[in-house]
C-alpha cells in the first residue's frame, strides 16, 4: 500500500466513522425535544422516560462524535497539508463558524444532560432546542466546506496560487445549497428510520408497550417526512452535479460515451476496460430527462476527459445505485406509513408495517455511507475539483500505513463498544402499559435522575 492510498483510506475511515455520530447528533436532539415537549404537554410518563433514554444514548454518541471530529480537524493537516495550506484561507470560514456551533452544542448539551434538577423545565427544553439547532448548523457548515471542494469558487488562479480570495463567495459555491439540504434531510431520515426500526422491532414482541409506541410515532414522523423529500433533494443535487461536475455524473451513471438522449441505467456493472456498463436496466432518455429536464439533452460521458481524470467508475456507480435504492425503499415505507395514517390506523396496528420498518432500520445509514462514497470517490482524482489533485495534496510523511492501521483498529474497537452499550440499553428498555396505569415501569431509575 503506498502512502497516498493509506492517507485516502485513513481519511475515508475517519469520515465514515464520524458521520454516523454526527448524523445522530443532528437528528437525535430534535426527537428528544419533541418527546420532552409532549411530556410537558401531556404529563404522560412514557414521554419523560423516552426523553431520558434518548438523551442517555445521545450522550454516549455525542462524546464519540466530538472526539472523532477533533481527529478530523487535525487530519485535514496531518494528511493533506498542501491542501490546507492552499485552501485554508478560502474555506476556513465555514469551519470557524462550525466551531461556534460546536461550542453552543457542547455547552447546552452539558446543561441538558446534567441539568434536569438545576434549571427550569422551560430552560431545559430550550437547551434542547439550541442543541438541535446548532447540530444542524454544524452539519450545514461542514458540508459547505465539502461542497467547495466539489465546486471551488471565490478566488482566481494566478500561477497555480489562489488570489483575489473571497471567502463569502467560496461559501456560496454552486453546490453548497443542494448538498447541505440533501445532507440535513439525510441526517433526519437516517436517524428517524434507525430509531423507528428499533422500536418497531420491540413493538413486535411487546405490542402494548406505550414507551415504544410513542417512540415509534415520533421517529417515524421525522424519518418519514424527510425520507419522502430526500429523492427530491437528490434530484436537485444530481442536477447541480450535472452542471458542475459532468465527469462525476458520468461515473454515477456508468455513462462512458457522450450522447444525447442518454438512458437512465438502473443497476449494472461498469466495465471500464470495455467502456460499457453491463447488465443495467436502461430507461431510454431517462438520464437526459432527469439531469437536464430535456429528453434530447447531451450528457457528457467519461470520454469527455482523458483517462487519468476518471474517478474509480465501478465504485462510484455501485455506491450510487445503493444510495438510490435505499432512498426509494425508505420512501416506500414512509408512504406506506402515510397511507396508514390517512386510513386512520395506528402504525403499530399493522404487524407487516412494523416488520417493514424493522427491515428498514439500517437503510438510512447505508445510504449515507454510500452517498459519501459517491461524492468523495466521484471527485477523484481531484481533492479540489479541477484545481488540485489528491496526489499533490498529500503529506510527505512516510509510513502512513501505521496511523491508518492504528485509527482503523481504534475505530473498530470504539464501534464495538458503542454498539454493545446501545444494545444493552435497548435490552433494558422500560415497559409502560396503557390499560393498567398502576403497573410501574420495570425500571424507573431515569425518572429520578
Amino acid at each position: 500500500m503506498d502512502d497516498l492510498l493509506a492517507a485516502r483510506l485513513q481519511m475515508a475511515i475517519s469520515l465514515a466513522f464520524h458521520i454516523i455520530f454526527a448524523v445522530i447528533g443532528i437528528a437525535m436532539p430534535l426527537m428528544m425535544v419533541i418527546a420532552e415537549w409532549f411530556w410537558l404537554r401531556t404529563g404522560e410518563e412514557a414521554y419523560l422516560m423516552l426523553t431520558k433514554r434518548w438523551a442517555k444514548g445521545t450522550a454516549i454518541l455525542f462524546a464519540v462524535g466530538a472526539v472523532s471530529g477533533t481527529v478530523l480537524s487535525f487530519e485535514l493537516g496531518l494528511l493533506w497539508p498542501n491542501f490546507m495550506g492552499w485552501a485554508g484561507s478560502i474555506i476556513g470560514m465555514p469551519f470557524s463558524l462550525e466551531g461556534f456551533a460546536f461550542f453552543t452544542e457542547a455547552i447546552f448539551l452539558g446543561i441538558y444532560l446534567y441539568g434536569w434538577q438545576r434549571v427550569s423545565p422551560r430552560m431545559h427544553i430550550l437547551a434542547g432546542v439550541l442543541i438541535a439547532l446548532s447540530g444542524a448548523a454544524s452539519g450545514i457548515f461542514v458540508v459547505i466546506a465539502n461542497a467547495w471542494m466539489n465546486t471551488p469558487t471565490g478566488f482566481r488562479l494566478a500561477e497555480g496560487r489562489p488570489v483575489d480570495i473571497d471567502p463569502i463567495a467560496a461559501m456560496l459555491n454552486p453546490a453548497a445549497f443542494s448538498q447541505a439540504l440533501h445532507m440535513i434531510l439525510a441526517a433526519y431520515a437516517a436517524t428517524g428510520f434507525a430509531v423507528a426500526g428499533i422500536h418497531a422491532f420491540l413493538l413486535l414482541r411487546d405490542h402494548r408497550n406505550l414507551f415504544h409506541r410513542r417512540a415509534l410515532s415520533i421517529a417515524l414522523v421525522i424519518g418519514g417526512i424527510t425520507a419522502i423529500l430526500q429523492p427530491l433533494s437528490g434530484d436537485i443535487l444530481a442536477r447541480t452535479v450535472a452542471r458542475n461536475q459532468p465527469v462525476k455524473l458520468a461515473a454515477f451513471e456508468g455513462q462512458f460515451r457522450t450522447e444525447s438522449g442518454a438512458p437512465l441505467r438502473i443497476g449494472g456493472i461498469p466495465d471500464v476496460e470495455a467502456g460499457i456498463t453491463r447488465y443495467a436496466l436502461e430507461i431510454p432518455y431517462g438520464l437526459s430527462l432527469l439531469a437536464f429536464h430535456d429528453p434530447r439533452a447531451t450528457v457528457k460521458g467519461l470520454d469527455a476527459v482523458p483517462r487519468d481524470q476518471w474517478p474509480p467508475v465501478k465504485v462510484v456507480h455501485i455506491a450510487f445505485q445503493i444510495m438510490v435504492a435505499a432512498g426509494f425503499a425508505m420512501m416506500g415505507v414512509a408512504l406506506w406509513g402515510g397511507w396508514l395514517l390517512w386510513r386512520q390506523r395506528a402504525f403499530f396496528d399493522s404487524p407487516w408495517f412494523l416488520r417493514a420498518v424493522t427491515a428498514a432500520t439500517p437503510l438510512g445509514f447505508i445510504a449515507i455511507e454510500a452517498g459519501w462514497i459517491v461524492t468523495e470517490v466521484g471527485r477523484q482524482p481531484w481533492i479540489i475539483y479541477g484545481i488540485m489533485r489528491t496526489a499533490e495534496a498529500v503529506t510527505p510523511m512516510p509510513g502512513l500505513k501505521i496511523p491508518f492501521i492504528m485509527f482503523t483498529l481504534l475505530y473498530l474497537f470504539l464501534a464495538t463498544v458503542v454498539t454493545w452499550l446501545l444494545l444493552h440499553q435497548v435490552r433494558e428498555s422500560p415497559r409502560v402499559v396503557e390499560s393498567n396505569p398502576q403497573e410501574q415501569p420495570r425500571d424507573n431509575e431515569y425518572i429520578t435522575t
Binding site: K56, A59, I60, F62, A63, V64, A66, V67, S68, T70, V71, S73, F74, E75, L76, G77, L78, P81, N82, M84, G85, A87, G88, S89, I90, G92, M93, F95, S96, L97, G99, F100, F102, F103, T104, A106, I107, F108, L109, G110, I111, L113, Y114, G115, R118, I165, D166, P167, I168, T395, P396, M397, P398, P403, M406, L410, L414, V417, L421, H424
Partner: protein, 344 residues
C-alpha cells in the same frame, strides 16, 4: 482603524483560546491524572468527585482546542501545514489520547455500572489524560525549538528530531504537572466534604512543589533547546516584571492552599498559568514556528483575516454568556461565590 495589525490581533485570539483551553480543558486532563493517582481510604470518593466535576463541562472545554486549530488553519494556513507535517507523529499520538480519553469517560459515565467495567474505562480515561498533555506540551516545545525548518514551501526534512528532544519533552512534562496542579486546586472547591477537600489540598501542595523544579528544568534546557524563548524570557525589558509576578502568583497559590483560602488559591493558580503562557507567547512573538514562520509571512489575505475576526467577535457574543451560564449552573456555588459575596 485598528491600532494593531490584523495578524497580531488574530494571534492574540489564538493565545486567548489556548489560555482558556489550558485553564479549563487542562484542568480536565489534570482530573484524569488524579483519577489515576487516587489512593487512600477515599480513593473511590475522589474518583467520583472528579467525574462529577468534569462531566458536564469537558466537551465544551474541549472546543477551545478546536478553535485554536480552526483559527490557525484559516488565519495562518501555512503555519498549520508546516506544523501538521513536521509534527505528524506527536500530533497523531495526541489524537489517540484525545479519542480514548473522551470516549472512555463517556463509556464509564453512561455504561454499565458494574465495578470491573467501570475500573477498566477509568484506567483508560486516566492514562489517556496523562499522555495527552504530555504530547501537547511536546508539540508546543517543538514549535518553539527552532528545529522545524520548512524548505521551499512546505517540505520538512525530519519527522522525529524536532520533538523527540530534551527541551520539548520537558515542556510536555511541565504541561502535565501544571494541569495536575490546576486540577487539584480546582477540586478543593468542588466538595463540601472536608476530608476530600483536604485530600486535594495536599495533592495541590505537593504538585505545586513539583512545578518549581520542572519549570527550572525547562528554563535550563531552553538555553540550547529554544534559544529564542530563553532570550525573550531572560533579556527583555518585561522579563523582571513578568518573572516577579509569576513568582508572586505561585507563592500566593501555595500560601493560600496552606491557609485553606481555596478561592484565593484558584485565582492565583489560574493567574500563574496565564502568566506562564503569555510570557512564552510574547517571547516567541512574532514567530508562529521558530525561526522561519511568523504571524506576518504565514497570514491569510486581509479579507480572510477581517471576516474571521468578525466571526470570532460575533461568536464571542453568544459564546461567553453561554459559558457563563453553564458554569453558573454547575459551578455556581464555587465559581461565582466570590463574585456574589462581593456584590452583596
Amino acid at each position: 482603524m485598528s491600532i494593531l495589525p490584523l495578524e497580531v490581533i488574530l494571534a492574540g485570539v489564538m493565545m486567548i483560546s489556548l489560555t482558556l483551553y489550558a485553564l479549563m480543558g487542562g484542568a480536565d486532563y489534570g482530573g484524569g491524572v488524579w483519577d489515576l493517582l487516587a489512593w487512600g481510604p477515599r480513593a473511590k470518593a475522589q474518583r467520583e468527585l472528579i467525574a462529577e466535576a468534569i462531566g458536564p463541562i469537558w466537551e465544551a472545554n474541549h472546543v477551545w482546542l478546536i478553535l485554536v486549530i480552526v483559527v490557525l488553519f484559516t488565519g495562518f494556513p501555512l503555519a498549520f501545514a508546516v506544523i501538521a507535517t513536521a509534527l505528524h507523529i506527536p500530533l497523531t499520538l495526541m489524537l489517540l489520547g484525545i479519542v480514548l480519553r473522551g470516549s472512555a469517560f463517556a463509556f464509564r459515565t453512561y455504561g454499565t455500572k458494574e465495578d470491573r467495567t467501570q475500573r477498566r474505562w477509568g484506567r483508560v480515561f486516566s492514562i489517556a489524560s496523562l499522555v495527552t498533555p504530555l504530547l501537547l506540551g511536546t508539540v508546543l516545545g517543538a514549535i518553539a525549538s527552532g528545529q522545524i525548518r520548512p524548505k521551499d514551501r512546505w517540505v520538512v526534512t525530519d519527522f522525529v528530531r524536532p520533538w523527540l528532544a530534551p527541551f520539548p519533552l520537558a515542556v510536555g512534562l511541565f504541561a502535565l504537572v501544571l494541569f495536575a496542579f490546576l486540577a487539584a486546586v480546582y477540586l478543593t472547591l468542588e466538595t463540601e466534604d472536608p476530608e476530600l477537600q483536604e485530600d486535594f489540598r495536599r495533592r495541590a501542595l505537593a504538585s505545586a512543589f513539583v512545578v518549581g523544579p520542572v519549570a527550572l528544568l525547562v528554563f535550563l534546557l531552553s538555553g540550547t533547546g529554544a534559544p529564542l524563548i530563553r532570550r525573550g524570557l531572560s533579556e527583555s525589558w518585561w522579563t523582571w516584571p513578568l518573572q516577579l509576578s509569576t513568582a508572586v502568583f505561585a507563592t500566593g497559590a501555595i500560601l493560600a492552599l496552606w491557609t485553606r483560602r481555596f478561592h484565593m488559591a484558584r485565582f492565583c493558580a489560574a493567574g500563574q498559568i496565564t502568566l506562564i503562557l503569555w510570557g512564552w507567547g510574547v517571547a516567541q512573538f512574532p514567530y508562529l514556528i521558530v525561526p522561519d514562520i511568523t504571524v506576518f509571512n504565514a497570514a491569510a489575505p486581509a479579507i480572510t483575516l477581517r471576516l474571521l475576526l468578525a466571526a470570532l467577535g460575533s461568536g464571542a457574543l453568544i459564546l461567553f454568556p453561554s459559558f457563563y451560564y453553564l458554569y453558573r449552573i454547575f459551578k455556581g456555588q464555587t465559581a461565582f461565590k466570590t463574585l456574589k459575596d462581593q456584590s452583596k
